[in-house]
Symmetry: C2
Subunit: 188 residues, 2 copies
């Protein structure tokens, strides 16, 4: 399958570090050209499901501007300029929870929007996490650190209590990665 090509791009809104909007002129594989294709740029980010040595899942209960009511929230934040995604994940885990982990699993990197771009989201599972210091979060939001059991996280996911898309994604991917296989799994 042939990719779409970007013929030209121009900035139509520069709103500082958190939002830029461009117009792209795009050429389709069959030769058609679409002008004024909007392309949205916001910072790339990481989310981390951190599981402690005691099999507790670390997360927060928090309010966010884009979300109705409080939500369960995994560790996460924007990747700094020139920062590697895994370094951002380790930094956010330490800042937000005071935990470090020796075992990191890459759960993949995903484009947020198929058409408009938005950002890349990179997800991790951190295992055997242990507390090494006090949290040092500078978020604007009030928050409360929780330690949930696996079955508690499963129930919360099923009830859509992780209310923001990447949070549900990283939790579902982490549960899938660490699931107990059924008795027939070895046959697949």
């Amino acid at each position: 399958m042939r990719p779409w090509k970007t013929r030209s791009r121009s900035t139509i809104l520069n709103h500082g570090p958190y939002l830029t909007v461009e117009n792209h002129t795009v050429e389709l594989p069959d030769g058609r050209v679409i002008s004024e294709w909007p392309w949205v740029i916001t910072p790339d980010y990481v989310n981390v499901v951190a599981v402690t040595e005691r099999d507790e899942f670390l997360c927060f209960r928090q309010v966010k501007y884009g979300v109705e009511g409080a939500s369960l929230v995994p560790v996460g934040g924007y990747i700094e300029p020139d920062e590697e995604p895994l370094d951002a994940a380790k930094r956010e885990l330490l800042e937000e929870t005071g935990y470090e982990a020796p075992d990191w699993i890459d759960l993949g990197s995903y484009r947020v929007c198929r058409n408009r771009g938005f950002a890349m989201a990179q997800f991790y599972l951190a295992r055997e996490a242990r507390s090494v210091t006090e949290p040092d979060a500078d978020d604007l939001e009030e928050q409360e650190l929780l330690r949930l059991s696996r079955s508690g996280v499963e129930a919360a996911l099923e009830a859509a209590e992780f209310k923001v898309l990447p949070w549900a994604t990283v939790v579902a991917l982490a549960l899938h990665h660490t699931r107990e296989r059924g008795p027939d799994a070895s046959k697949e």
Copy 2:
């Protein structure tokens, strides 16, 4: 926990049906006020994991402008104005695949971005899907309909071959919903 309040809002970019950008003046619970908080509006959408009577998972291989290389893609699309999300899901399934399904499971509704908004994504699992007509897709993209086994979908998810965030989410949620429980699951 107390919500943030929107004191005022003004449109700073109107790019037609697919993108509007607003500036919000936001009041935090502690009284601080943030002006020029960017808020991005794109159409709400649905994604559907459709499983046939023969336990085949319907999806496509497709290129999208925002994605590097071809991706696996579940059924989905924008919700029309005044359309219910479930109706949009049924419409997209029929248009894109020619299938209908008698059994629909709501997998939740999610804000795409905690801070900027972007859209709401609504996910479904459609079971016992069967072919009733020819597909009638009007997408700009070339695409190929695939029927994958459950283990094939699991392997593709683990390899991050669903390359866009909501696609990985709906697949992970559907696999979680339909998973085989391990021998100890009843104890949880």
